[in-house]
Each structure stands twice: as C-alpha cells, then as structure tokens.
C-alpha cells in the first residue's frame, strides 16, 4: 500500500538514558491494518512493553502517535495519541489529546515520537524539524505545568510551536498526574507520573515542513462544507462548550453527587452552562485548525477566588463540583486551576476528593489525616486543600496519590466507597441512570472512561432502539461505539467535528481519499474493531479477565436514594446480562479473552505473531 498524503512514514525515537536519537521507518502494512494514532501506538506498545514492566520503571515508554489527518488543512486536525503503561491503572493506557503538539510534530517530519529510558537529571527536549536537543530542566523543578509551557516556548525562541509539560504532581509520581499539552490534556491514567519517573519535565516541537496532502483541491472543498455544517450543528458547542450537558445530565438523574451517593445535585442552577456563560466566561479557545472553539476560558472576577482562571469542561465541573458537593462556580474554577498548575487530572482528582470527603464524614479519617482540614462535602476550602495535599503527597493525600487501586490495597474495608474500574475512577455519569453506560465503564480499554468505552447516552435516549434501563441490545451498542471511537482516535481529528465529515458507525464520504489518496472509509469500522481487540489482547497479557470488567460496589449494591432515578440500581445479575451479550458480539470467551477465530478474522493474529 502506498499513500500520497497524510503520512510521513517515519518516527523519532529518543532515549533519555543514553541521550541518543534515531529515526525509524513505519511499516506501511501496519498503517493499512491500524490506520495510525491509537492503532499504531497499541501495536508498538504490544511489541515493546512486556507485562512485567511497571509504569514507573525505566523500561516503560511514552508512545506519541499522530494520525493521517493530524495537521492537515481539514476540520480540527489537532489530535494525537499516547500509549504507555498507566501509573493509575497499572495497565495499558491509551489517551487522546488536542492542542498544537501533534500537528507541529508532523510538520517537523514525524508521524510519531517514542520516548524511552530515564534521564539522570531533570531534562526537557526540544525538537526543531529533524534536530533534537536535550535541555537542563533542573531550574524548572517545582514549576507549574503552565509555567513550564511558557519556559519551553521561551527556550524555543517563541513562534509557532507545540509543547507538553508536567507539574509538581508529576514530579512527585502522583498517579493521577496529567500531561499538559498546549493547555489541553492527556488527562486520564496518570501519564504525567511516567514523565516524572523519566525526569522529563517537558517537550517542545517546531516544524517548518509541509505535510503531504493527496488532493488539496478536494480537501479545500471538504473543509469549506464542514465549517458551514459545524457553524449550525455545533453552535451550542461554540456558545456553551461541553458544560451545556450539566443541566441535562442532572435532570436525567445521572450527575455524580457527593462521591456518587446520589445522582441529582440540588445546586445545579448555580454551576450550569448559563451560570458559566453569564458570569464567568472570558473567551473561547480553539485547538489547531478548529472552527468550533468549544474550549471556554473562565475567570473569577470577584470574591475570594478573584483572578482564578481555567478552561472548565463538563467532566471537570461535574467531578470537582457536585461530586464534592460544591455549588460555587468560582470555587470550581479555582480547583480546576489548581489541578492544571499542579498537574492533576481533574476527573480523577474530583473522584479522589469526593472519596476523602465521604471517608471524613463517616469518621474513617480525621483532621489528623487532612492537615487540619474539615473535609466535608460542600466546603471549597476542603476541595482546594485536598487537591494540594494530593499533589504534595501529604497526609491522606499521599494515599490518594496512589490512585483508587492503591487506596483499596491499603484499606480493603473502604471498598464500598471506592469508585473505579481497573483502577480508573468514573467520568461524570452514574450508570444506574443509563445502564449501557455501566457496560461502557466495565469494558472500556482503560477503565471507567466514557470516551474510550463508548458514550451511550444519546443512543439510550434518542435512537428509539434502546431504553436507558433495558439490558438487551447494550452489548452491540457499546461495541459499535467503541469501534467507532477507536478508529476516530487513530485519525488525528477531534471527535466533536467527526459528524460533519462522515466519520460515523457507517463511514461515508471521500475525506480519507482526499487526505491520503486511499479510500479507507469502507474499512474504518473493521479497523476500529481490530484495534479494540488488539488492546484487549494487551490487557489479557497484563492479567485482565472478566473479574476486572465488573463495576464498583456502589453501582451494584446501592439503590439511588432520591432524584429522578430514585430506586435505580445495576445489580451484578443485571450487569452480567449485558456483559455476556457484549463478549458474544465481540467474539470473546466468557472470561473476556478473544477467541482464536476472532483474532484470525480481525487479522490481529498477524499483529501479535
């Protein structure tokens, strides 16, 4: 297979131990089977990270892979992908991110960057077209992730660059640490701690090259039509961003509240999209080549948190707000900013704080554990103080910094209050309100994630094929959503715009031919299924079986006590119905292991031989 656009055909490999750099060709056969981005990153991870490698060990690697569309003059071609061993889940992690880094990496001449080894002292990397330099990041120790981005830009002499960094939490190997990418994030799974373990404070890239494009004339037509479509179809994203869903999810009785003890937050009107828009919105933010600009930079203009500034998203508000009982939008912005600067994933941080607050209210921890903080739900001082304790690894923060797996290992008696799947705490949806979402959390490659696992809520509410509380049919629904997302994560395009260019579960249109010269469209869903099963092979190798696909106790043993979904529960028996159907439709056995026939049918066998 040969491609006339989209791909550069080579990757850059940097070894921090030996300070050596080399360029490698990427096998076009792998591209034809796995597309790019998430697919190729999974294959390199499979080949290079045996199950015995710990997330924070020198042998772990960071696999950054762009997709064929990354950086092209098409809608929101901002995305690139990371694979690594997750400090939070202790297993394979896939993560997708916007910003400028991916496009600039391709302009520098590479489809991918692999970082391996461990630096002797704190280091930053700069990539200027084909040239790599190692800088001394010693003076930057303790800097926030945002200040580190500024230092990287200064080190590059300004101009158009992409940059990624970690904050103090990553330096301290906090397992909830994120990687800040041009103020977007590789958020979940703790990849910031992998960088921390390598003493890698940041990377900046400048590229002056041109990314080949198969059919520039047709691409320009597609771009023009998509922008017109998105102006209408994503108008609410442009105005409100993802916070537009807060009020809706709450009204549907699915908003995690006070560590998922209930799913309806009484203070929603103070923190919903209208509250944000009317009182806190400063400006919109757009990723690379995006006309939607769904990022919302918010600022607190008065009161105790005046001057706080952050780009608040639905998940962040949900987990740092209702899940901690907080109905003060200014306090949420402040918490968001703290997480950004300290370098913490806002979802996992919100779940960790929610857990600590419940433990405190139950008398299982005291002010002796919290550095004197009255860690009760609804107290902004407690939210901010606990975030700082986690990042500093002080008091209860040191335990929470080990992630949900670490907390459970130390205190198995706290299991009724610990919310996670495979070590990753859930996003801002309670699956007792949408049962398909429970299967999403259970079978997501990386743990309780709504993106990788397949976002079911629209289909469960609108399609007419599924009732939100029904069990039958959720297996094929979730599989289809996961396969769709797996190929989209491999393209290099943002999921928000995919509908405008035909990237549905029945892909249509000629964007891939215009970009690469090859019509991938009929194969995309099959490629997505191949990627998902390859990832499952990796997870199986790391010990994952059916027992790891189960939901936390709260969802399966406690009925929702009030709100629109009062009385709802997803018992183990109910969940098993969905899980059995899911395994069957995937061609996996009853322990969640793909059968030999499935691996041959999907040509995964060729990839793991």
């Amino acid at each position: 297979m040969s491609y006339t656009g989209g791909y550069l055909g080579k990757l850059l490999r940097v070894d921090l131990t030996t300070r050596s750099v080399r360029t490698e060709a990427i096998d076009p056969r792998l591209v034809s089977l796995l597309l790019g981005g998430r697919g190729l990153a999974a294959k390199y991870y499979y080949d290079e990270i045996p199950a015995s490698v710990g997330a924070l060990e020198e042998a772990n690697k960071l696999f950054f892979f762009t997709g064929p569309l990354t950086g092209l003059p098409l809608p929101s071609t901002t995305k690139f992908q990371l694979a690594t061993r997750s400090p939070e889940t202790r297993r394979y992690l896939c993560s997708n991110c916007g910003g400028d880094f991916g496009p600039r990496l391709k302009m520098a001449g590479f489809d991918a960057l692999i970082v391996e080894g461990q630096a002797a002292d704190w280091t930053y990397l700069t990539i200027t077209d084909g040239k790599v330099a190692f800088g001394d990041a010693g003076p930057w120790r303790g800097y926030s992730s945002t200040r580190t981005l500024e230092e990287l830009k200064a080190a590059m002499g300004g101009g158009k660059i992409g940059a990624l960094s970690i904050g103090p939490a990553g330096e301290r190997l906090v397992r909830l640490s994120y990687i800040n990418v041009d103020s977007r994030a590789f958020g979940r799974g703790g990849p910031g701690a992998v960088m921390g373990s390598k003493k890698l404070k940041g990377i900046a890239v400048r590229g002056t090259g041109k990314i080949p494009l198969a059919d520039p004339v047709r691409a320009a037509e597609i771009q023009k039509a998509a922008v017109a479509d998105l102006k209408v179809s994503r108008a609410n994203h442009t105005k409100f961003g993802t916070p537009q869903y807060l009020e809706v999810i709450n009204e549907l009785g699915c908003m995690p509240t006070r560590n998922f003890q209930t799913a309806y937050f009484e203070g929603m009107s103070k923190i919903d999209a209208h509250a944000m828009y009317e009182h806190y919105l400063e400006k919109n933010y757009a990723c690379y080549h995006c006309s939607v600009a769904c990022g919302k930079t918010c600022v607190v203009r008065e009161g105790p948190y005046a001057g706080a500034r952050a780009r608040t998203e639905f998940e962040t508000i949900g987990l740092l707000g209702p899940n901690c009982g907080i109905d003060d939008f200014g306090a949420i912005i402040k918490a968001n900013q703290l997480c950004d600067e300290l370098g913490l994933d806002t979802i996992s941080a919100g779940c960790a704080v929610g857990l600590a607050m419940e433990l405190f209210e139950r008398g299982l921890i005291t002010t002796a554990d919290t550095a004197g903080i009255e860690a009760r739900f609804g107290r902004p001082e407690a939210l901010h103080g606990l975030i700082e304790l986690i990042a500093a690894r002080q008091g209860i923060g040191d335990l929470l910094a080990e992630g949900m797996s670490g907390v459970r290992e130390a205190h198995p008696e706290w299991s009724p209050y610990i919310l996670d799947v495979k070590g990753m705490p859930p996003a801002a949806y309670d699956p007792r309100g949408f049962h398909g979402n429970g299967l999403t959390y259970g079978t997501s490659t990386r743990g309780a994630c709504h993106n990788v696992g397949g976002w079911t809520i629209r289909a469960e509410l609108q399609s007419g094929k599924y009732d939100r509380f029904a069990l039958q049919g959720k297996g094929p629904l979730v599989k289809g959503l996961q396969d769709n997302r797996a190929y989209v994560d491999s393209l290099g395009m943002c999921t928000v715009v995919r509908g405008a260019v035909g990237f549905s579960d029945d892909p249509k249109g000629d964007i891939m031919k215009a970009a690469t010269g090859y019509d991938f469209m009929p194969e995309l869903m099959g490629i997505g299924e191949r990627i998902y099963s390859l990832e499952r092979v990796i997870l199986n190798r790391e010990g994952v079986r059916r027992k790891d696909d189960l939901l936390p106790e709260r969802f399966t043993k406690e009925k929702l006590p009030d709100g629109p979904t009062k009385g709802r529960i997803l018992t183990p028996q109910m969940y098993d119905v969905m899980l059995d159907e899911y395994y069957q439709v995937r061609g996996w056995d009853d322990q969640g292991v793909p059968t030999g026939e499935t691996l041959r049918r999907l040509r995964v066998q060729e990839l793991i031989a």
Partner: protein
C-alpha cells in the same frame, strides 16, 4: 391537566424561560403538547437536533410514540442533542 415542562441548556434561550406549567385538556397526548410547543414557544418536534423526555424516558422510546396519553403531573424535559463531554 397540568404538565410541567422544563427547557434545558440552550433550549432555555429559545423558549425564553427555564420551566413552566402547561395546561392542556384532559386526555391530551404528546402530539397535542408538541403542537402547543410549536405554536407557543417555537419549539418544533420531532427535530433531530432536539431531545425530549417524558418522566425521564425519551419520546422516541415510548411504545405509543406521540400517541402517548398524558397525565396531570407528567414531567417533560426538552434539550439539544447531547454528545458527550
């Protein structure tokens, strides 16, 4: 009879209010409510860009569809299509 209607997210701007109690004749169906919404609030259903629930269930998932008979106290919520955070 009284139906409680809530306009969520961006629909609040279109309807010009957050919620209201709508009076309809006894025995009215969802179809009559949809007619009222189109006439009084400019909200036309069905619309692929909008979602509507009756007591937490999507209208499109009700076995009787728009022929579903309403009861006093029913809760209706209207909002733009959701797409994940």
């Amino acid at each position: 009879m009284t139906i409680q209607v809530r306009y969520l997210s961006a629909l609040r701007d279109q309807a010009g209010r957050r919620e209201e109690a709508v009076e309809l004749p006894e025995g009215s169906r969802l179809a009559e409510l949809a007619e009222w919404l189109a006439l009084q609030r400019g909200v036309r259903l069905p619309d692929p860009g909008l979602m509507a629930t009756l007591n937490g269930r999507g209208w499109t998932q009700l076995p009787e569809g728009m022929d579903r008979t309403l009861a006093s106290g029913d809760q209706v919520a209207l909002f733009p299509v959701v797409g994940g955070g």
